[in-house]
Symmetry: D2
Subunit: 320 residues, 4 copies
């Protein structure tokens, strides 16, 4: 998004950010979208008949907390993505780490529903704080502040810095459960990007925004689905990088299913305003979203007779 269309010497077309365009490159230029200057924009060319209903209708529905949330449909999409070897990219804000939501995110990673995890320093910090000290942001799982709890995330950061990286802290038995632990154990790649609000940061965090965008793009370009939860910054950044369509093995195109969860309609509207038209919004609390989505996925798997890995690393010899 917001990039130039470049024709290379071999006759192939590339989409490149402005800073990657070099002098001499052949770039498509035009101020109009009607073809009069050589560029013709047709945003819905690949979508087929808009009246055909079903999934497409749901996707384009307006965002409102007053509408029912179709968890069944989302559960089916997630399972289908897993079945066909898709690459669902999860993008999460720190609300995901608290209490039950952390367990649920861990469950999705362990059961193969996460292609890659994109997040900020805080998600990893509080997840690791929970593994080491049993608090997040200094709060217990039921939301009570603990004495001295406000400093525990700094102590967690220090332990990981001493180990050298999150993976090493997992190896050394410092981090023993949770989201980052499961990513490491299940070889799910993650990108942690820095921001000016970060404490620490953790050694794995990419503090340069441009380098971080490049790291994120390694995953967004492979994405076959996106789940954006409780983060305006990361959701809109990812939305800017996501392709609008996924190419199927037979060459046909389908819209890239994009679920955006936030506690108000605002983030989803903002996402759509900035061109991620295919996003559909779920207006709810991130913790509750995760819990019900997992419940529906479990029910659907039960109905299909598929076993799940119930939050335990079951197999002898480990999971790696």
């Amino acid at each position: 998004m917001d990039s130039a269309l470049v024709l290379d010497a071999a006759g192939e077309l590339w989409v490149r950010e402005g800073r990657r365009v070099k002098q001499g490159d052949r770039v498509a230029v035009g101020h109009k979208e009607d073809g009069s200057e050589g560029i013709y924009v047709h945003a819905s060319a690949f979508l087929g008949d808009p009246g055909e209903g079903g999934e497409f209708k749901f996707m384009t529905s307006e965002v409102s907390r007053e509408k029912p949330i179709d968890y069944s449909l989302m559960a089916r999409i997630l399972i289908e993505e897993r079945d066909r070897g898709g690459y669902p990219v999860w993008v999460a804000g720190p609300a995901l780490v608290h209490s039950r939501a952390r367990n649920d995110m861990t469950w999705f990673i362990q059961n193969g529903f996460v292609g890659a995890l994109l997040a900020g320093n805080a998600v990893a910090v509080h997840d690791i704080e929970a593994s080491i000290f049993n608090t997040t942001l200094g709060m217990t799982g039921s939301g009570e502040a603990t004495t001295g709890g406000h400093g525990l995330h700094m102590r967690a950061i220090n332990k990981v810095r001493a180990a050298g990286s999150i993976a090493k802290a997992v190896e050394q038995g410092i981090i023993t459960d949770g989201i980052m632990y499961s990513c490491v154990k299940h070889d799910v790649p993650f990108v942690l990007t820095g921001s000016i609000r970060d404490d620490g940061p953790l050694p794995d965090v990419i503090t340069d925004a441009v380098a971080a965008q490049d790291a994120m793009k390694q995953h967004t370009k492979r994405a076959t689905m996106a789940i954006l939860i409780a983060t305006a910054l990361h959701a809109i950044a990812t939305g800017n990088m996501l392709p609008a369509f996924v190419t199927e093995p037979d060459g046909s195109l389908r819209e890239l299913a994009t679920i955006c969860v936030d506690s108000s309609e605002f983030v989803v509207s903002k996402l759509k305003d900035r061109g991620t038209h295919q996003a559909f919004g779920v207006v709810t609390n991130a913790q509750d979203f995760m819990h019900i989505l997992r419940l529906y996925v479990e029910r659907e798997l039960d109905a299909r007779g598929l076993a799940t890995n119930h939050g335990r690393l079951a197999v002898a010899g480990g999971v790696r």
Copy 2:
């Protein structure tokens, strides 16, 4: 709340709204709260040591979508209320009617967790629309608009008007499931109050605000717990009527547990600003709240070896 303290001829103290105070009544009068004019206010006299932790700490915690929600605690409180024959008053806005939330509310009624239901015309209208036409606000259970759906709530109102009342429409087999149906079948009293926004209204609706307040008070004065879901108007009206404390059989006092669910922090803050200090807030989508709360209540009942009425009216001879 916002009433006068009246000493009657028999020497008993009553709390009366201004419009009920008669000429000649002896009314406590004072501008100060420090006892210098005969009135001494001590809001926390009955609360014991604030440092003792546990339930009390949770109750007074600040409202924020960033805090974990303690569904286990709420489930335990609900079950304890049922076990001791309490009178939990549920107050609901129309968001409760959509899709899964309607089933969940029905389940709570059927399983004895609802002492009384206070709501507006719209809750009953869309619940009945769902029973007759299978839509709410013209949307299907998965949130899709249906052709001509915008008129179905009017047709539902007309059917109930023709029957004469909600109870008669249940008797005549017009309404066959849902929230209002279960209230009628399980003898759970309900108060439907009118507003200037109402279509219809249904014949059971009390359109006069003062009469409606009186009808609500018949239930709030018996309340031993309150659950306020997705409604600013009804939640704050009820908050104004709720006593702050419940008298136990042994004469001791405990705070009246008050749960307020809304999609933003605002309603709960407003409730507290207007004097319902004991309210604790859950910032989430009403549908998701209902689903997870039911799940936790079911789990807790399972753990206690108690059977539930799984959404079916099971017994031969009916439930009444």
Copy 3:
């Protein structure tokens, strides 16, 4: 809105609420909008070419706090309404009463920009509290709570009840400035409708919702413009009653300009979801909206060389 189309004996068409339709009335009936059952819906028939820009484009723009607010346009519309003898209906929530906003609303009434005021009990109560005690909701004009201030609105209600009505309290010199005072002095009609949240209520309040709707309709059917400020309940109720078009003296139709001000996008979206398509939303604080709108109206009047009544009742012989 949500009414029946009735053909009377004289061959005239009337729009009637369901409860006003009598046995034997001839009512237009149909489930389709395409004419196949005798009803053909064409919502934009009177709007002309949608591509012509200007006012229409602004009206239909999406609601977002990220968009500039065009106060100049709103100021011009207000002045034009006044110039052609229009009937702008203002609908306000209690946020309008605090501090500067109260002065600004008073100014609009005094300067002829208000055809009618529709509000709830609280708006009048706190406006009168401000006139008598110099507080609103017990707060000073700079937002500080005052000792004993939480009871002042009850004392204000009592004074008006003793006088018999707001108009009598103005006559008797109890209420000496503000919104209600100016309505009385300038013969601007007002409708105060009751709700279950009300203290009091004031003697002028219509507590029956159906009677209140009828009273509101006396003004909405004359409306040539609507300004809905900081109230979900009253805004949506009024939206349901507003015609979508105004008939010009020459018989042509123009959209009824409808401005909806709220601190989030939600109320405006809700208004549109319920059929008030022509509403355009301003996402801001009601106090700030009033202050800037007045400023722009004053500037525009200055530019046109028109004097204003600067918050004083200037003319000898009084204003009535």
Copy 4:
């Protein structure tokens, strides 16, 4: 904030981020705040008697859109800061750039009310887009989308990249008015920090989050006041860096006045939750805030007989 207290060889105490603490440094260590482990926390030691009212009371008041906003007080604080040579740090999100707000921000810079400006890439991009193309985010000043407007910010970025920097683009006459122009012309330092959401970015943007924090701290440590407008990320980042107190020339301490403006209560609550206790919140639209604040400052200056630079760079020989 979230840093270590280090005692250096010369016996001086320093506050250092974890990553700056070196092996061998003497660091204050303790888990308790009661002095039992050598650390004693007294957050309000310097505040004097909390009961003395006035400014202090306003500062600690709860955040709510229902409270009056005291623009007079804020205007007086701003003028006093300017009069005593203070260093007010302004932190802004992109909402500040649209339409009137851009003019108002420019006015504050030109009239000496801005010590430093901290913002992200987007603020500068859209401000420069407005100078070159007369749109922001592709919208006109009245909020209408323009054809091809979605690409104009990219063209603006390209022009600055070609010039080399914002200052050079001002020198070369590419940027001729607005916020960044005025910062350059009036020698007001600015820090633009990058994020993963950025297009471009502009050449002046510090893309590394840790380097950006360091650049921001050069200003926050000099700050005597802070105004945080319509940005969660930058407001909380700055809040983390701001000292809670300002040392007066006579060695006494006063709270660092911190104004936080946002369209909901959430950001301010979050800021307070993370330790910026002294922040007071204004819940409104950023554009309207800027316009009314400027109006009140102008009125106050008029009352004091002080001239202002009315948005024009008036003096012969330029302003530098």
